[in-house]
Homo-oligomer: 767 residues x 2
């Protein structure tokens, strides 16, 4: 990896731009197979009920119907850390929208008609929608059979006979002594709402059982290996008999990580005698039944010295996981330990509770808890600064973690880019100058971890003409991974960018990778690809040395050729070294690489300790400048400045794209988005008319700042960037609102109504 870099650090056209612009990119809903059937799902109208009987007879009589299934046909449960979720409801429904039965028919109309004719006798049970109430003793229990579920005991601790499926505990230092030492103590409670991921593409899957015990899914699945694994365990099949092929994905944001639309499709495919079944979800189904960013309440109490030093913190975090676990226990863990924020706090006590409620299941969402936590801890930080009459930037700079400092979990991260991002953001905001009249502004810092330990792997093959195919299971969902992975492979192999072709993920052929999530692909898969390309490069050098009759050490690899260093007229192209064409004396060149971050360890579930619980940290700093109309409560964003420590910027335009998209989500969810349920647990706004998302008119141009603090283990020093940009924005807006008009909003979204109430211009809300 010596010498100048040729491919990384540049921004070539995205490799899939043409396909997407021309409408030729294939998404799961575009897939059509011979003899394919179309599926529809019958869903629960009730939030909590026992199923007395299911009558499928009317559905079966509809012309064109080929299969009708319900829970008793597929008595399997999934979810990797806690296997609590049935393919189709068994005995009991736990939220409005839960799949109860499914139909496969020759056409979609017949499938939908038949699904509407499925008659279910329910006996209603008391439902609980509020996690705080669900935690009370005597609350209706969603999963009385909890102890029968298989769970990974290493990962989380439930509270027995309750709706709390995970209680995360972290204890660090002596929190009592810390508070005793403090000059001031601050307290606050911060609430983040539930919202939808809002991906343009609704979930879609085609499932086909080719033979008994052999199945292929074409699915909009962010994490094909993770999904294949979960399904294989649920069905009791070896993983190699389940093939998950991922076409392009029209936005994921976490909603497409793990099994989502797949279970009902699989339930049908098991009954159609080998005919494939296609299931495309409606927008309403996506809103009501395919995962949600769940609501979170964070209670913080912090002891500080008069000079601004943080000395103690307690945090109590309640995570609403909805009716099933999904990622809940891990989200509760990773989110809760992040409630410290990116700060040195010697004494801490953190309790996170992951709680079942009769609502749609909480799934992963871009930043995995850090949006919610950063709204809390960065709102809280400004309240502390205000209380101490300190400058918000100054108090942050004073407490931010630096190299050598220890995190809440006992880790000592390397290459910490917090102060550099803060400095750059403050400079861009001209923080040292007075703010414009009538405006409010704020700057916040955040840190987000990335799942570890977790593995990735890649293969690289040299084609007959010297071009390279790179196989990797990272899925492309708009984040630009195909382009960046292509750059990394080209750089590490010494190939031209245009000579490298990335192969889309398919668990039968693209090798194992834990997931496309957690901002981990550039770091983990990037490293695997660099290793695979390096392995191929070694073979290239060996053969070139033989062909050119020069020792390896005299050779340079660049631009898809090997040159004699002191005589660049002597060279051989990669094509001359490819070993398949008739007459070639060389064997084919094939590289492989796998990666798992060194020394990463699983958590101690009892103490919250972990020597190295993340592959790397995303460090960022967000600045906001805004105006609030005191008559209407309307907020106008004037500036959003977003500074990120990329480790090393592999592709500037792609990084800026990630920042702009993430910041837009941050703004939209801070100001507008809110999934509203009625008292019976029914979603009232399951469509893009009633559910408000920001448009480009609501958001100013995002000012991206890329800071490079090279990570010693990152590919060429790079780290992930995907999730950082969503974090902190809500706190920055809340802080800037207070800076502008002196009122603080602690529950999201920050609507004009809440501002007018806070200003006393509207009466308080009735609960």
């Amino acid at each position: 990896m010596s010498g100048p870099l040729n491919v990384i650090g540049r921004s070539p056209q995205q490799v899939d731009a043409l396909e997407k612009v021309l409408g030729r990119a294939t998404f799961a809903a575009d897939i059509s197979l011979p003899r394919m059937l179309h599926g529809a799902v019958a869903r629960s109208p009730l939030a909590h009920a026992t199923i007395r009987n299911i009558d499928l007879s009317a559905a079966l009589r509809v012309k064109g119907v080929r299969a009708v299934v319900c829970g008793r046909d597929v008595p399997y449960r999934y979810n990797l850390p806690l296997r609590d979720q049935p393919f189709l409801a068994i005995d009991r429904v736990r939220y409005v929208g839960e799949p109860v039965a499914a139909v496969a028919a020759e056409d979609l109309d017949a499938a939908r008609e038949a699904a509407s004719l499925i008659r279910v006798e329910y006996e209603e049970l008391p439902a609980v929608l509020d996690p705080a109430q669900a935690m009370l003793s005597g609350a209706p229990l969603l999963h009385p059979e909890f102890n029968k579920y298989w769970r990974d005991e290493k990962l989380f601790d439930p509270i027995p006979n309750s709706n709390v499926l995970s209680h995360f505990k972290l204890r660090k230092g002596d929190v009592e002594a810390g508070f005793a030492e403090a000059d001031e103590i601050f307290e606050g409670t911060y609430t983040s709402q539930a919202f939808n991921h809002g991906a343009i593409e609704p979930h879609a899957v085609v499932a086909q059982v080719e033979l008994a015990g052999q199945m292929t899914l074409w699915s909009c699945q962010q994490s094909p290996w993770f999904a294949a694994d979960d399904l294989a365990i649920a069905l009791g099949w070896p993983v190699h008999r389940i093939r998950v092929v991922t076409p392009f994905i029209g936005g994921g944001f976490g909603a497409k990580h793990g099994l989502k639309a797949e279970p009902p499709a699989v339930a049908l495919a098991l009954k159609t005698g080998g005919r494939p079944v296609k299931l495309v979800m409606s927008r309403e189904e996506v809103f009501t039944a395919l995962g949600v960013r769940g609501a979170v309440t964070v209670k913080l109490r912090t002891g500080v010295k008069r000079d601004g030093r943080l000395v103690a913190r307690t945090a109590e975090v309640i995570w609403d996981t909805g009716a099933y676990a999904d990622v809940g226990p891990l989200l509760c863990r990773n989110g809760s330990y992040s409630s410290t924020g990116p700060y040195r706090i010697p004494n801490q006590s953190i309790d996170g509770y992951c709680v079942y409620t009769n609502k749609v299941v909480t799934s992963a969402f871009r930043s995995y808890g850090t949006m919610e936590m950063s709204f809390a801890y960065e709102s809280h930080m400004d309240e502390i600064a205000r209380g101490l009459q300190m400058d918000p930037v100054q108090i942050r700079r004073q407490n931010l973690l630096q190299d050598g400092d220890e995190t809440a979990t006992g880790e000592t991260p390397k290459a910490v880019g917090l102060v550099p991002t803060l400095t750059a953001c403050a400079s861009a905001m001209e923080w040292d100058k007075p703010k414009a009249p009538g405006r409010g502004r704020a700057i916040v810092s955040t840190a987000k971890s990335s799942v570890a330990p977790s593995g990735s792997s890649s293969f690289i093959q040299m084609n007959d003409d010297g071009t390279l195919n790179v196989m990797c299971s990272t899925t492309e969902m708009g984040q630009g991974s195909r382009t960046v992975m292509t750059q990394l492979a080209a750089e590490a192999a010494g190939a031209r960018f245009e000579d490298v072709h990335l192969i889309a993920s398919d668990t039968a052929v693209t090798p194992p990778d834990r997931s496309t999530s957690s901002s981990r692909s550039t770091f983990n898969m990037g490293n695997a690809i660099v290793r695979a390309a390096g392995d191929a490069r070694e073979q290239i050098l060996d053969k070139a040395s033989e062909l050119l009759e020069e020792p390896r050490e005299n050779l340079d690899v660049r631009d898809s050729a090997v040159f004699v260093r002191k005589d660049s007229n002597r060279f051989c192209s990669f094509a001359q070294l490819a070993g398949v064409r008739p007459g070639s004396n060389f064997g084919p060149i094939v590289g492989r690489g796998s990666f798992v971050p060194a020394d990463t360890t699983a958590f101690n579930v009892k103490t919250g300790e972990g020597r190295r619980i993340t592959a790397f940290w995303l460090y960022s700093c967000q600045g906001v400048e805004l105006e609030v109309d005191p008559d209407t409560g309307k907020i106008t964003l004037h500036r959003v400045v977003s500074a990120h420590d990329t480790g090393r910027t592999l592709n500037p335009v792609a990084c800026e794209g990630q920042i702009e998209g993430g910041a837009a989500i941050g703004c939209s969810t801070a100001l507008f988005e809110d999934l509203v349920l009625d008292r019976d647990g029914k979603v009232l706004n399951p469509n893009f008319l009633d559910y408000r998302m920001a448009t480009s008119c609501d958001i100013p141009p995002i000012e991206s700042i890329l800071i490079e603090v090279p990570h010693p283990e990152g590919p060429y020093g790079a780290k992930g960037i995907g999730e950082g940009p969503t974090t902190g924005i809500a706190a920055a807006i809340a802080n800037a609102v207070e800076d502008a008009i002196g009122v603080r909003i602690t529950d999201l979204p920050i609507t004009p109504e809440k501002i007018l109430r806070a200003l006393g211009k509207l009466p308080p809300a009735t609960p």
Copy 2:
């Protein structure tokens, strides 16, 4: 590779048996894609003509027609060693059945109707059908523009301004001196007829151009990498933009090696705006236009000592390649140098001529010339034995190559299994006992080379549950390669057979391999897979050593687990080592292997010398016992004994299957099959009614004998076996006929009519 073998040497159920038996195996004709069009081809009715004009207008007016193309739309030429063949005829047609234009339409009827309405104005040229006539000066030249074609000059030498596209020359020792030294000189001319490969599945292909410069073919293609490469060069595209996916193949036998049905499909797909085009050939098209085993005439002259020692040979071989090169030059080379047979002959002079004629193109056929050569040299050998009054087995035993002997090309092969197979076959035939009254019998020996140098490669990935996926580009066409490759991977990785899953060939993801041809897969791909599995096994041992806290040298790998050698209660399963599941500290296990036979060298095209021109040799011996009805000329085969040196038998039942199938081809083509053309070059029997193939009633149970002479470079000592069984059978039958009734037939097939003529019971044939 130490320790007892667990998986190889056994005959597990073929991994694809269930799919095939249940009719679920997908063949190219089963593929159906959204918006797929159906293609049809318009073909030349003339053997040789200039194209004056092509009028597509009537075809374009047919309802449902979406594209009509002719040669001017696709001015590309293919064939790897000599790029002489157009996608669709350009300016000139050279055989009856040559594709001239093609149509893609919404349905097959419309496509066929439109194809029939294409009006071509031809100006007929004199045609030449007989290669001997085609070699004469003044014969009509098929390719006056020959010098404009790109060709690989290393591989063959044409005779300028003639129809001889390749003149192969081999000179060894001093042939004049050899004949001078001889006590007796024998001469003979032996003719093998043209016949069809007779695969059950007619050629089928679906082609789709996804974007400009990006294409996928789903094709019944034996050698996907070879085909992709040829197409890429023809079109001037990088290979990574051409993906060849091979589903199951319903029989190949060489007819599906290289571009066959693909060019017209590609020509159409380039014009349909991204819509896929399916082209399924009719049986008549397969017979007339998709390749043939071409006719060959061999003239041998051999000098022998009175004691039976062979001292000199000249051979003149004329190969009819039809209208285009295809594999002609290489077939001429490999076939011609094999005219020595498996014998020590110190002085040799071989001339092979590959000749254009106005007939369907000769393609590869199972044994690549050795069927024809062995018919010649083993008929000849019995004539010599008879002349010298020696026992046919004795004279063979005396002259057969053994370890340390030099072949015609100057190679000294290792592990020569000729004498062992002869001994075993003679023993099974009870050669030392008198033959049964009224019967004839014969024993023949053959040797067949395998293409070299040529490379193969493989990837192996470990899935989350510890099962393995093996990626290899060897295509399954009934020969059982998937099962044998699975066995090799399981054995070398230490996995259970049922834990290994083979991935079908697809050039985008299964790594490079020259071809599925030349009996090379077990040897070349087998070695690549053993290396890939060994690479994975090393990673498995490293991780197991860490997990079990034992040094690697104390560990054993077997049955998909790693055991502590001295305490088999301490072990870890492969699943525990797989590095993707959340919480795993291990990175994914990914193996890679590539192979090219060591020290193999290209031929010297001027002298025919090659230090090592084959990866290995197939050695076999065939015995036949038969009866001839002197009144009808009908031959009844009583016994066919077929002994083969497998190197090591990886799967006994699979080897026997190859032998039985190959011997059946040998018998059928020796006795029945014959592609008959009229004087205008039109095939008269292009269907299975008029073209006679043997049925199971015509062939006795084949007695297979497997001899193991381990090859030092073979995987576990194994070699290929696919082509040996077709060789020698025709000579054995001809020799046994002479043994039975005293007449010798030297032109195939050996029909009752020819026997009656030889017996003088019918008048001689009129030419």
